[in-house]
C-alpha cells in the first residue's frame, strides 16, 4: 500500500510541478504580449482624439441596451448617467424584463412615457413584448416592457429594437465613464471586420460619483473589495491585452461591451439558457464567424471604463465566482469541438487549450497539489527545503503578475491619483495570494459540482446602498445608488 501511495505522490508531484511550469511560462508569454498592446492602446488613447469637439459629430451612432429586472431603486440613477453620456448620436434602450417591483412605473413617472409602434422587424425570438415606449423629454430613450425571460432574453429584445448598427450592452448596476463611448468605438473606426469590442471594468465600491461621473476614484479600504482591484487590473490590463495579440479574447465582458448588431442578429443573439451569457455569446461569435470563414476581430480596448460594484461579503462573492466558473465549464464543454481544432485558428489552438487546462482545470490541479503535499508529509517524502522554495516561487510569481498589472495601470491610465491609493493597490497585490486565492479555489471547485448537477441558478442577489458605506460630508450628496451583485 505504501508503495502505491509513494508512486502516486511522486507521479502527481511531477505532474503538478510541470503543470505549474508550463502554465506560468504561458502567463509570462501573455505578460510579454501585453507590453506591446498596452503601449499601442495608450498611444491611441492619448493621441487619437476622437472625442475632440470638432470630430464628435462624425462618430457612429450607438444603441445602449440595459436589461432591467427588479431594479426600481437603481434604474433612475443608471438612466440619468447613461443619458448624460458625452456622445453625439445615442439611443438608450431599457428592457424591463417583467420586473415584479416598480421598475417600469418608476421610469414611466420620471420620463413621462408614451406608447409607440415597433420600428423594426423582430428577428430574434423573445418572450412577448407588451409595449414600446418613448419619453416626452428624452427622445433618445426607448423603454421596452416585456414578459420575464432572463437577462439574455431581455438583451435580445433590445437588439431587435435597436436602430443603430452598433449596440453597447451595459449592466443595470454599471456606470459607464462619461468619455467611454468615443473610446470603445475606436477599433470600429480604425479597422474593418471588427465584430465587437470590450472595455475595462473597474471597481466602483469606494468611488464617489456625481451625475454618473467618477469624480473621486479610490481603492476600497475593505479587504474583500480592495483585493479585487488588482485582480480586475490583472484580468483586463494584462490578460485580455495579451490575448489581443494572440488571436482575440474568448470573453468580452457583458457589463460593458460594444458589438456589431448585424453579426449578433445573424448568430442568433444571446443564448437564453446560459448563466454567463457574455462568455457564451463571445465563444458563439468566434465559432460562428470562424465556421463561416469570415474575417473578424474581437479586441479588448483598455481605456474605455465602466464602473461596477463588486461583492463585499463572502457569500455574494462566492456565489458570483462559483457562477462564473460554472459558466466557463459549461461553455467550454458545449464548444468542446473547438479544442485544439485548427479550423478555429488561434482561438481553437491557443485560447481554448489555455482556458480548458489553464483556467478551468487549475483549481483541480491545485487541490491535487495540496493533497500531494499532505500525503508527502504523512509518508515522510516531503523535501521541506524544496517545498518551501516552490511555495515561495509560486506565490512570488503571482505577486509579480499582480504588481505588473498595477504597473501597467500606473504607466498608462493612472486612475487612482492619490499616493495612499497607489500604496494600497500594491499592498492588495501582495496580499492577494494569502486567503483570497484559497477562497476562490473553494468556490471554483464548488462550480464543478454545480455544473455536474446542471444547476442553472444565478444565486441570490444582494442589494447594498453605496452611500451607506461612505460616512463623511459627501454622504447624502451623492445620488443614491444601489448595487446589484450578479
Amino acid at each position: 500500500m505504501r508503495g502505491i501511495l509513494t508512486s502516486f505522490v511522486l507521479f502527481w508531484d511531477d505532474v503538478v510541478i510541470w503543470y505549474f511550469v508550463v502554465l506560468n511560462l504561458f502567463y509570462g508569454f501573455l505578460f510579454l504580449m501585453s507590453v506591446g498592446e498596452t503601449w499601442k492602446n495608450w498611444m491611441l488613447a492619448t493621441r487619437l482624439h476622437l472625442s475632440a469637439r470638432f470630430d464628435r459629430e462624425t462618430l457612429p451612432p450607438i444603441s445602449i441596451i440595459i436589461p432591467a429586472y427588479n431594479e426600481a431603486v437603481t434604474i433612475l440613477d443608471t438612466l440619468e448617467a447613461q443619458l448624460a453620456l458625452e456622445y453625439p448620436h445615442l439611443e438608450v434602450i431599457v428592457v424591463n424584463d417583467g420586473s415584479e417591483d416598480e421598475t417600469f412605473d418608476a421610469i414611466q413617472r420620471a420620463y413621462e412615457l408614451y406608447e409607440v409602434p415597433p420600428a423594426f422587424v423582430r428577428k430574434l425570438e423573445t418572450r412577448e413584448v407588451r409595449g414600446y415606449y418613448r419619453s416626452r423629454h428624452h427622445p433618445a430613450l426607448l423603454v421596452i416592457d416585456k414578459e420575464n425571460g432572463g437577462k439574455a432574453d431581455a438583451l435580445n429584445a433590445g437588439l431587435n429594437a435597436a436602430r443603430y448598427p452598433l449596440c453597447a450592452t451595459v449592466d443595470a448596476d454599471t456606470i459607464i465613464a462619461h468619455d467611454a463611448l468615443p473610446r470603445i468605438v475606436r477599433p470600429f473606426l480604425m479597422e474593418d471586420h471588427v465584430a465587437g469590442a470590450g472595455g475595462t471594468i473597474r471597481v466602483a465600491n469606494a468611488c464617489r460619483f456625481e451625475r454618473g461621473v467618477a469624480v473621486d476614484p479610490q481603492v476600497p479600504k475593505r479587504y474583500l473589495a480592495g483585493v479585487q482591484v488588482p485582480e480586475y487590473l490583472r484580468a483586463f490590463l494584462f490578460g485580455r491585452l495579451g490575448w489581443n495579440r494572440l488571436g482575440g479574447n474568448i470573453l468580452v465582458s457583458g457589463a460593458f461591451a460594444l458589438f456589431r448588431r448585424d453579426l449578433l442578429m445573424e448568430t442568433g443573439g444571446y443564448p437564453v439558457k446560459s448563466v454567463t451569457e457574455d462568455l457564451d455569446l463571445t465563444v458563439g461569435l468566434h465559432r460562428a464567424l470562424r465556421e463561416r470563414g469570415l474575417e473578424y476581430s474581437l479586441p479588448f480596448v483598455p481605456d474605455p471604463v465602466a464602473w461596477t460594484e463588486v461583492p463585499e461579503d463572502v457569500g455574494s462573492l462566492g456565489r458570483q465566482r462559483e457562477r462564473w466558473h460554472r459558466g466557463l465549464i459549461r461553455t467550454l464543454l458545449r464548444n468542446a469541438r473547438m479544442l485544439v481544432n485548427p479550423r478555429y485558428g488561434r482561438i481553437g489552438v491557443l485560447a481554448f487549450p489555455f482556458f480548458t487546462f489553464g483556467e478551468m482545470m487549475a483549481p483541480v490541479v491545485e487541490v491535487i497539489g495540496y493533497a500531494v503535499v499532505l500525503l508527502g508529509i504523512w509518508l515522510h517524502l516531503l523535501n521541506w527545503d524544496y517545498a518551501l522554495l516552490f511555495a515561495a516561487l509560486s506565490l512570488g510569481y503571482m505577486m509579480m503578475l499582480s504588481v505588473w498589472a498595477v504597473m501597467l495601470e500606473e504607466f498608462t491610465y493612472r486612475v487612482y491619483p492619490r499616493m495612499w491609493d497607489f500604496f494600497r493597490l500594491i499592498l492588495y497585490a501582495l496580499l492577494e495570494p494569502f486567503g483570497y486565492r484559497q477562497l476562490t479555489l473553494y468556490w471554483r471547485l464548488k462550480a464543478f459540482w454545480k455544473a455536474l448537477i446542471q444547476d442553472r441558478s444565478w444565486g441570490r442577489q444582494k442589494r447594498q446602498d453605496r452611500n451607506d458605506r461612505r460616512p463623511g460630508p459627501e454622504r447624502g450628496e451623492d445620488r443614491r445608488r444601489v448595487a446589484v451583485v450578479r
Partner: protein, 358 residues
Amino acid sequence: MSREMLAILALVQALIVAVLFGLLIWHRIVRTLQDQYRSRKATGVTAALREWVAGSGDGAAVATAFRRCPIPAGRQGIEEAWKEMGSEERERVSELLRRSLWTRRARRSCRSRFWWKRMEASQILAFLDDPADVPVLRERLRDRAPAVRVGAIFAARALTPPQLLDDLLQLVVKAEPARRKVLLDALAAYGAVVVPALARHLEDPRLGTSERASLLSLAEHLANSVREPELTECVLPYTRDLQLEVRVKAVRALATLPGERADARLLRALRDPAWEVRAQAAKALGRRGTPRAARALRQALGDRTWWVRLRAGIALRQLGRAGRAELQGAQREADPFARDMADYALRLEDAAVLEYGS
C-alpha cells in the same frame, strides 16, 4: 527541477519584483513632472493663440509658446483655442500656423516611420487647411496603420476646397457601417460639390450591389443639407434597380430630396414587389408630406405585409387633415387589415407619429 534551479528562479523573481517597485516609484515622480510641463506648454499655446486672435498678442509670443513644445501638447493647446473660434478666426490661425517652425516639425512627422507620430501629425494638418498637404494626406489615407488612416480622414474633412473628394468616395464604397458614417460626414461637410462626383461614381459599372448601396447612403446623408435637383436626378434611376438593397437605399434617399419626380417615383415604389421597398416608400411619402399620396397610402393600408400597413397608417397621420380623412374612411372599409390599421394609426399619440417619421 533541481533545488538550485528553483532558488535561482526565486531570486530572479524577487529581483524583478524589486525592480518593478523601483520603476513604479520613479515613474510616479517623473510622470507627474512631465504631465505638469506638458500641461503648462499646452496652456501657454492656447493663451498665446487666444491673445493673438483678440489682437492683444503678437506672432512672436505665439512662436515663443510653441518653442520646444512637444507635438501632443501643441496639438492640445491649438485644439483648446480652436473650440472658441469662428471660421474667420480659424482661417487666420491656420495661416499663422502654416508659417510656424513647430508646424514644420509636425509636418515632417507625417512621414515618420513610427505610426503614432504619423497619426498625431496627420491630425495637426486639420488645423492648417493647406492645399500643399494634399499629397501627404492622400498617402496617409492609405497608410498601413489603421489609426493613421482615421487621423487622415479627419484632416481631409477640414480641407477647403475638397481636393480629396474622389479618394474619400473610393473609401466610402468599401467601408463597414461604423467607419462609413465618418466618411459620409466628411463628404457631407463639402456640400453640393459632392453631387457631380457622386453621380459619376454611381454610374461606375464595376460597382457591386453593396458598394452602390453605400454610395446611395451618401445621397441620403447629403439630402439633409443639399437640396439640389441634381441630387434627386442622380438617385431616381436606382429606385428601379434590380437589386433590393439598392432600391431600398434609393427610396430612403428620396424621402428628403426635392422635386415632383421624386413624388411620382415614390408612388410607383408603393407598388414594388418587395415589401421592404413599399414600406420605405410609405415612410418617405409621409416624411415628404405629399398630399396627393393620400389615396395611394390608403390603398397601402390593405397591403399584405403588416410593416407596410403600419408605415402607410403613420404616413397618413403625417399628412394632416387629408390623411386623417382617408384613415377615417378606411375605418369603414370591408378590408379588416385596412380597418384595423386605420384604427391603430388614429389611436397613436401625435408625439409617436412625429417620432416615427423622424
